[in-house]
Assembly symmetry: C2
C-alpha cells in the first residue's frame, strides 16, 4: 500500500492532530489543535493545506468550536456556531471544499434537538467527511488510472497528494493507482513558489512511496514540455466551476497554456466536492497572501528593502486548456460544462 | 542620469574588476579577475551574468589570457589564444554575445605583426566592445521608448538591466529611456528562480533609479496578465535567431504564451550582436546548470535527500509569440524573419 505512514490529520480524544506541513521534509511533527481559533490559525499559516484536507480540518474545527458555546438555548447555539463556520470559511476564501465541509457539518446541527446532542451530530458528520474523502481519493485513482500509460512521465504542480488530502491524494492518487496497476510512471514536480509544496511535499511523498520524481523550477515547466519530456500534466484543484474553469495553485495556468501549445494533455483531479455550480468565473475570489512569502526565505530578505511584492495564491485555467477533469464519480471530458453537468446528475441519483 | 553608480565591470591597470552579482542586493562588492581562469570561473558561477556583460568580460578575459602565452612565435601564440577563446566561449554555451565578443577580440589578433603587439590589438578591441555596448544600450532605449506609453506597467523577467550590460540595460534601457522622456512607467519583476536575478538585481537597480517596481513569483506572471495588470512584456535575450526565435532565461516562454493568450504585446530587447544568423532553432544548446541551484537555498536543502532536479537555464520563445524585437539598429516587427533580415542589411551598410 502506497502513502503508508503519511497521515496528515488525526482525530483523537476529541482533539485534532495535524502534520505540520510547513516543517516538511526536514521534520515530521504533529501539532495539536484544541480550539477553533487554533484550527483557523493552522489553516491560515498553511500548517495544513490542500483543498480536501482543509475541508476535513475545517469540519473538525467546527466541532471544536462547540467548546466555546456555553448556552443551553439551541437557536442561540446555532447562531454562535454560524459565526464560527463563517470564520473557518474565511481562512482560505478561494478553495471550495472548506466551505462545502464546514457547511455540511453546520447543516447537520439542524437535526440536533438539544445543545448537548449537537456535539454528537457534528462529530459524526465530520467523521463521515473524513471517511468520504478517503473513499473519494481511492475513486479518483480508480477513474484516473486508465489515463496514464506504462512509461508515462507526469508533470504535476504544487502538492495534490496524500499530504493534501486524508488518503491517496487527488492528482497523485491517479499516479499511485496507475503504479499499483503495474505501470511504470515517473513524475516531474514543480517546486511551487513561494511555499515550495512541490519540492517539500510532492517530492517527499513520492520518494517515500518509491515513485521516481525529479524537481524543476516552476518557470521550467514550459521548456520541459517543449523538449517532449512530459506525457501528461496532472494537477489538483481548489475550485472547479460548472463551466470547467479550474482554480488551482498559482502557476497552474501557465503550465496549462504550455501543455496546450505543445499538445500535451492537461488533467485536473479533485473530489466532486470541489465543484462549485454557483459562481461565475469572474466572481471567484483569488486569495492574495502575505507578500513576505515572496520577499523572504527562512528569514533572509530576497529583494531590496522598500520593494513590495504581489502574491496571488491561485489562478484560473479556462476550460479550453483542460483535457479532462478526474473526479470521484467519473472523468469529465470536453465539452466540460456538459460532462460535468451529467456527472452532477449521477451524483444526485446516488445521493437520493 | 539613471543607472548612476551601478558599474558592473571596470578595466583598471590591466586588471578586470567585476561587481559580484551573487552578493547583491545585500552587498555591493567587486572581485578582481587577474587571469583568464578567474574570468572563466566568474562567468560560470554567475558572479557576472547578463548576455551583453559576459560578452565584455569574455573579451577582457581573452586579453588576460596573454599573460599565459610565453612564446615569441606569432602563429603558436595565436594557436594558444584560440584555445583560451574556446574555453571562454564554453563557459556559457547558450548566449551568443560571449562568442561574438571573444571571436571579435580573437580576430583582432590577426592584425598584430608580432606577439608583443598582440596585447595592444586585443586590449583596444575589448575596449571598443565595451564602448560599443554602452552605445548599444543607449540606442536600444532610444528605439524602444516609443513602444511604451505614459502610465504603462511593464512586466519583465530576469535582469536585462544595467547590471546585465555595461550601461543602460536592454529591456530596462527601454524603460529608462521612456522614463527620461517623462513617461510614468512602473515595472513588475518576476523573481526569476533559481538564482533570483529579478528580485535581487532588477528590483535593486530599478529601486536605485526611483522607478516603481513590484516583485512576483515567476508562476504568477500568467495570473497578473489575466488580471489586466500588465500593458507590455519586455525581456532581454541571450540569442535571437534569424527566424525570430528568442532564447532567454528559463521562464520567458511561459510568459510569452500567457501574454499571447491575454493579448498583451511581448517584446525582447537586445543589441544586434545577440543575433545568430547561423543556427537552426533545433540546434540551440540549452545550458543545463547544476541541479543544486534548484535543490538548495543558501546552504539549506529545499527538497528531500536523494531527489534530483532538472535545471535548464534557458528556453526558446518561437516568433509567433513575439510582437517585436528592439535592437540598437531599430525595431523588428512581424514577420520577424523578414524584418530582422532588413535590419541586418542596414548593419552591413553602416559597417562598410
Amino acid at each position: 500500500m502506497t502513502g503508508k505512514g503519511l497521515e496528515p490529520v488525526r482525530w483523537r480524544n476529541r482533539m485534532l492532530e495535524v502534520l505540520d506541513q510547513t516543517r516538511l521534509p526536514a521534520r515530521l511533527s504533529y501539532v495539536r489543535l484544541r480550539s477553533v481559533d487554533e484550527v483557523c490559525d493552522a489553516i491560515k499559516t498553511m500548517k495544513v493545506r490542500g483543498a480536501p484536507l482543509i475541508g476535513v480540518v475545517g469540519a473538525y474545527g467546527l466541532v471544536l468550536s462547540l467548546k466555546n458555546i456555553r448556552t443551553n438555548d439551541r437557536a442561540e447555539a446555532r447562531r454562535q456556531l454560524r459565526r464560527y463556520a463563517d470564520a473557518l470559511i474565511q481562512t482560505r476564501p478561494t478553495g471550495v471544499n472548506l466551505r462545502w465541509a464546514v457547511e455540511r457539518v453546520f447543516n447537520s446541527s439542524s437535526h440536533a434537538k438539544t445543545v448537548s446532542s449537537l456535539k454528537d451530530s457534528l462529530e459524526s458528520e465530520a467523521e463521515a467527511i473524513l471517511k468520504g474523502e478517503l473513499e473519494s481519493a481511492r475513486k479518483i485513482g480508480e477513474f484516473g488510472a486508465p489515463l496514464l500509460e506504462d512509461g508515462d512521465t507526469v508533470l504535476t504542480h504544487c502538492n495534490a497528494g496524500a499530504l493534501a488530502t486524508v488518503g491517496y491524494g487527488t492528482a497523485l492518487a491517479v499516479v499511485r493507482a496507475a503504479v499499483e496497476e503495474g505501470k511504470e510512471i515517473s513524475v516531474i514536480a514543480t517546486e511551487t513558489r513561494p511555499l515550495l509544496q512541490g519540492s517539500r511535499l510532492t517530492a517527499f511523498e513520492l520518494a517515500h512511496d518509491g515513485i521516481p520524481v525529479r524537481i524543476i523550477c516552476d518557470s521550467a515547466a514550459a521548456q520541459v514540455l517543449a523538449r517532449g519530456l512530459v506525457d501528461k500534466v496532472l494537477v489538483g484543484a481548489d475550485r472547479i466551476l460548472k463551466t470547467g474553469h479550474v482554480t488551482n495553485k498559482i502557476g497552474t495556468l501557465p503550465i496549462a497554456l504550455s501543455a496546450k501549445f505543445y499538445g500535451v494533455p492537461f488533467y485536473a483531479a479533485a473530489p466532486f466536492s470541489t465543484l462549485d455550480f454557483e459562481t461565475d468565473p469572474s466572481r471567484v475570489v483569488i486569495e492574495e497572501r502575505d507578500q513576505r512569502e515572496v520577499l523572504y526565505f527562512k528569514g533572509a530578505r530576497l529583494g531590496p528593502r522598500g520593494v513590495e511584492a504581489l502574491n496571488p495564491a491561485f489562478d484560473i485555467t479556462p476550460p479550453e486548456l483542460v483535457s479532462g477533469i478526474v473526479t470521484d464519480v467519473g472523468v469529465a471530458g470536453p465539452p466540460l460544462g456538459e460532462s460535468l453537468g451529467s456527472l452532477a446528475g449521477r451524483v444526485l441519483m446516488v445521493s437520493r
